[in-house]
Symmetry: C2
Subunit: 425 residues, 2 copies
């Protein structure tokens, strides 16, 4: 069985390191040609990919995988075309590598410049979605980073085929196939070993659920991007435009309830609650949202509020619902809202709806999150919306990069210094 392959993960790491050196020097043209070949190969090999995926799908289905997992696992012609389009989109983005970030001449005539370079080798651990194989491989290719891919066991056959297509195609474009490594084994012990390979992996990116992200954050010996957990509040200030606040809250909750930038807790100023709450609850109720309300919200909504409105419990505050559920709390002031957010925020996305200049300023100054929003839906914390073109994820860390992560966030820099014989006194 393929799954019991004996894999020399140190050797994989060493090969990726060597591959990374060649890829770091690859021209933008070579990288874009490789991406073009990958996109074409995906479409040309649709039948083979679907076949491999069917094997995975049957296996997961037989093993009793949930419909959510099965949906994430599935590849059909349309999704494969979508993957190819994604790769072409990444090829079309500007190459971050080589950009001069700043530069100047020092008083002694030394010319210094800060030049963008790749990080080196990126490791990624992901779960049931095989499209992550292509997505991450393409992002790493464009940003000049070698990659070590470790996918979930449900998608093993799909991932294995996709990775071998990628390796073949980059080689055709003149880039060493070792720049993309796929771990041809589902042995669980390899994950722990990978997280300990600080000398071979410069950055670890987990792509999957909260448990995976937390494990990587706790165990990785190298830097890791551990975002993606969003406990998002929207505070409706007393000065808010009620209709705008309703639209924003409803959009933040229902446009895609199972993503990290969806609304979790609605904080409502007591002065506007009687006007705002019945309206927003009616719209959210129509969309099938269950609301966990504090006592003050319940008393405003009254006894006829219906089965989808239940009393909140302590655990609702700071809960990432990832479903058609939201918590509602009435507060007496901006200060109380800020305090609640400070206590429960995950540092992902926080929003205020207000017409008051000072409230807007204070909220943006004082809330500590990757994106802090006035008068818009929290759903806008997204690399695509920011114009980054492709998204690696959303970081809730403060170190290195925060918020939406695009290609430039997968880079480092080096300083160059050009002299004419300068020595130091």
């Amino acid at each position: 069985m393929i799954e019991t392959n004996v894999v020399d993960i140190k050797d994989i790491g060493a090969r990726a390191r060597v591959g990374s050196r060649a890829l770091a020097k690859a021209s933008t043209h070579a990288k874009n040609v490789a991406l073009g070949y990958i996109a074409d190969a995906l479409v040309e090999n649709t039948n083979r990919i679907v076949e491999a995926n069917e094997k995975d799908y049957r296996g997961a289905s037989d093993a009793g995988a949930s419909s959510a997992i099965l949906d994430r696992l599935l590849l059909d012609a349309e999704r494969i075309e979508g993957m190819a389009e994604g790769v072409r989109g990444i090829a079309a983005l500007p190459d971050p590598i080589g950009e001069t970030l700043e530069g100047r001449v020092l008083p002694n005539g030394l010319r210094i410049a800060k030049r963008r370079v790749p990080l080196g080798v990126i490791g990624t651990i992901y779960e049931s979605r095989p499209d992550v194989t292509i997505d991450i491989a393409a992002l790493c290719m464009k940003s000049g980073n070698a990659v070590i891919l470790r996918g979930g066991k449900e998608a093993f056959n799909s991932n294995s085929l996709l990775a071998s297509l990628v390796r073949d195609k980059i080689e055709e474009a003149g880039i060493p196939r070792d720049a993309v490594q796929f771990i041809e084994s589902t042995d669980r012990a390899l994950v722990g070993q990978m997280l300990g390979m600080k000398e071979h992996i410069d950055l670890m990116i987990p792509r999957g659920g909260a448990a995976l992200v937390r494990r990587v954050g706790a165990e990785a010996t190298m830097p890791a991007i551990t975002g993606g957990i969003g406990v998002c509040h929207t505070y409706v200030d007393r000065s808010a435009d009620v209709d705008m606040a309703v639209d924003i809250a409803v959009n933040a909750k229902i446009s895609r309830p199972y993503v990290c930038n969806a609304l979790d807790t609605l904080l409502v100023d007591s002065a506007i609650a009687p006007a705002f709450l019945p309206k927003v609850v009616s719209k959210l109720g129509e969309a099938g949202v269950e609301l966990h309300c504090d006592a003050r919200a319940l008393s405003i909504l009254g006894p006829a509020s219906g089965p989808a409105i239940i009393p909140a419990i302590d655990d609702d505050w700071g809960m990432e619902f990832l479903s058609l559920t939201a918590a509602v709390k009435v507060v007496d002031s901006l200060d109380e809202a800020l305090e609640h957010i400070e206590t429960y925020t995950s540092g992902h996305t926080e929003a205020i709806v207000t017409e008051d200049y000072s409230s807007a300023s204070r909220f943006q100054d004082e809330v500590d999150a990757s994106v802090v929003i006035v008068n818009a839906s929290t759903r806008f914390n997204d690399g695509g919306q920011f114009g980054m073109g492709a998204e690696v994820g959303i970081s809730t860390d403060k170190f290195h990069a925060r918020g939406p992560l695009g290609l430039t966030e997968l880079t480092s820099y080096k300083w160059t210094m050009q002299g004419t014989g300068q020595i130091r006194e």
Copy 2:
């Protein structure tokens, strides 16, 4: 005894976190006033500081500390005045906090901006130098970060007094004293506990020898800046100006031999070695430098080369000498030099001396180090030389920041987004 104080390090962390929130909001004016008060207090309390320091000095001397440690430990009126000047210099630097790094209007009218913010709480572990207490506290104050200071036991009395002066003075300037925490105990177990406090410390900065830096790098659960280890090569290309190469090599080795940007290995192209080596060896020999030469260098220098020239051993390549010692190796090409550097670099500082355009370009493109230099001394990898005004250290990491670290490298950013009711389709 003070040293056996029972310290609640979690409480210290929690207080620093609360302090960091107030400090993050402090105005540039308040931070500069605090720094001015600290500088004045240092000078006004010279006698008290000298007295506390004498206690430390006697203790360390009685315990048999080396003269290097005793020198680092010593504070006299002149050094205290120097510390005060350093603090005034940090006050005079521009405030990094609040700067807008980029901003634009998205197609839907959302206005986004990337705003520089502090990291939060910085932890620092240092050894025998009490001036680090003031240096790091001032850098953190200016960059809006709370700090937890853990100094070496030799300097305990000095550090304790300096920290209490800092805390008193920032409070006078309206900043909570909890923004600066000093661990009032020399219990060694606290270091390990501190390195595990991911929830209370956002960044760890070790200041001291290689063993401390390595320990922090290996054990810290939070991000850490672990640079400062420099194995620095200078490659003298066949096209080099011989006199320039001699000046650069001599300066890189002897201007301050015990620092991280000093020359360790001199790589010399075989075509220029007969002209270059005797000259450089004569000058280095005059300065008392011991040279560990490979066989080809030895054969060029001849048998009359003197007692300070000895055959190199394998361990000399990749050695950070931190003394009046250097290794010398003759190579046949730029490629061989690049390969040697790739094998032995610590990623700190690498230099080439050349008059050849292509060699200069290739060296800067292909060498992977924080600063890559053409025709100048490696000693220029330094925050002061870069015009940063104050230096936290030199990072050999690629994540977050690389090379000299100034105030801006102690910051993160957040995105602000201003809308007019935008919702996502």
